[in-house]
């Protein structure tokens, strides 16, 4: 009995590990103003399903991604593309930045271009000497993107993988083709739901 309680305790602690890396991204109010929105929320059973399917039937260029998502606990993406400037405020960006300045988070790289009004930052969350989370914040005049990965992640590998996964070359950081794919994916998902 004691052994079981101990095991349950260990399992509970394990599930909590890295959970501090999960950001509370409150940017949903921007969806109404955005021209295109990417909203990815994968965790738990859904993430496991996606990971298994990726491992079972990797498409061209996805083989390396299988290893990359091993041990991943969650992936959350909010990306908003606007038709005109000024759709989001500095407060929206600051709200995310404030969380990224909290305990455990370290700024990996942060670059700002005042002239273009662009900022991009990569942050990592350390726990027990291990990297247990990653966040990317990119603010451009017409685009605001926040990526939050919970669990260990090789940032270098992730960067190298980009452009290979969706079978297209480097996007030049513009998300339009990806957003188009996302829209196609949404249509596909809705079709599945209707079935």
């Amino acid at each position: 009995m004691r052994y079981r309680i101990l095991l349950a305790g260990v399992a509970f602690c394990w599930s909590l590990l890295g959970q501090g890396a999960k950001l509370d991204i409150k940017l949903d109010h921007l969806a109404a103003k955005a021209e295109r929105v990417v909203n990815v929320n994968l965790e738990g059973a859904m993430l496991e399903m996606g990971r298994k399917f990726l491992a079972l039937e990797p498409r061209k260029g996805e083989a390396d991604a299988v290893e990359l998502v091993e041990g991943l606990q969650g992936i959350y993406v909010r990306s908003y593309h606007f038709a005109a400037e000024g759709a989001y405020t500095a407060a929206d960006v600051e709200a995310v930045k404030k969380q990224l300045s909290g305990t455990g988070w370290t700024s990996f790289v942060s670059v700002s271009d005042q002239k273009k009004g662009e900022t991009v930052g990569v942050y990592s969350y350390m726990e027990g000497g291990k990297m247990m989370g990653t966040a990317v914040l990119s603010a451009e005049p017409l685009e605001l993107t926040v990526v939050n990965i919970v669990g260990p992640m090789d940032i270098g590998k992730l960067g190298r993988l980009q452009g290979k996964l969706l079978g297209m070359p480097d996007l030049g950081m513009k998300l339009k083709p990806v957003l188009k794919l996302k829209q196609d994916l949404k249509v596909k998902t809705e079709k599945v739901k209707r079935l």
């Binding site: 990417v38 990815v40 994968l42 859904m46 993430l47 399903m49 996606g50 990971r51 298994k52 399917f53 990726l54 996805e62 991604a65 990359l68 998502v69 992936i75 959350y76 993406v77 990306s79 790289v109 942060s110 670059v111 271009d113 273009k116 662009e118 991009v120 930052g121 990569v122 990653t134 990317v136 990119s138 993107t145 990526v147 990965i149 940032i155 992730l158 960067g159 190298r160 993988l161 980009q162 452009g163 996964l165 969706l166 480097d170 996007l171 950081m173 998300l175 990806v178 794919l181 996302k182 994916l185 596909k188 998902t189 599945v192 079935l195």
Partner: protein, 104 residues
């Protein structure tokens, strides 16, 4: 003795069956056959086969839907990684190009 013989002879003498004997016999045989596999058994067998077919169809449909759902989740996961990779590369490029005109 003679009487007994005569009686036996009379009893065993060859007689033709009545006119409808064959028809009656054949209809009885048909009846027997029907009793061997009655209609309800045919119906039961049909129902069993139909339910098996329906079961296989439902199972396959469920598997297909599950597969499509898993495929959509996989696409979403890949999309998340792709966006994350793109933004990380943007930061990397910006660092590499620091000091030049086109840093970001």
């Amino acid at each position: 003795m003679e009487r007994l013989e005569g009686e036996l002879e009379r009893m065993l003498e060859r007689r033709n069956p009545p006119g409808e004997f064959t028809e009656r016999l054949m209809s009885r045989v048909r009846g027997e056959r029907r009793r061997v596999l009655p209609a309800w058994r045919w119906a039961a067998a049909g129902a069993l086969a139909a339910s098996l077919l329906v079961g296989v169809y439902v199972e396959r449909r469920q598997a297909r839907l599950e597969r499509e759902r898993a495929g959509a989740v996989r696409d979403e996961l890949v999309l998340g990684l792709e966006i994350a990779g793109a933004k990380i590369n943007k930061a990397r490029r910006a660092v590499l190009n620091l000091g030049t005109e086109d840093s970001l």
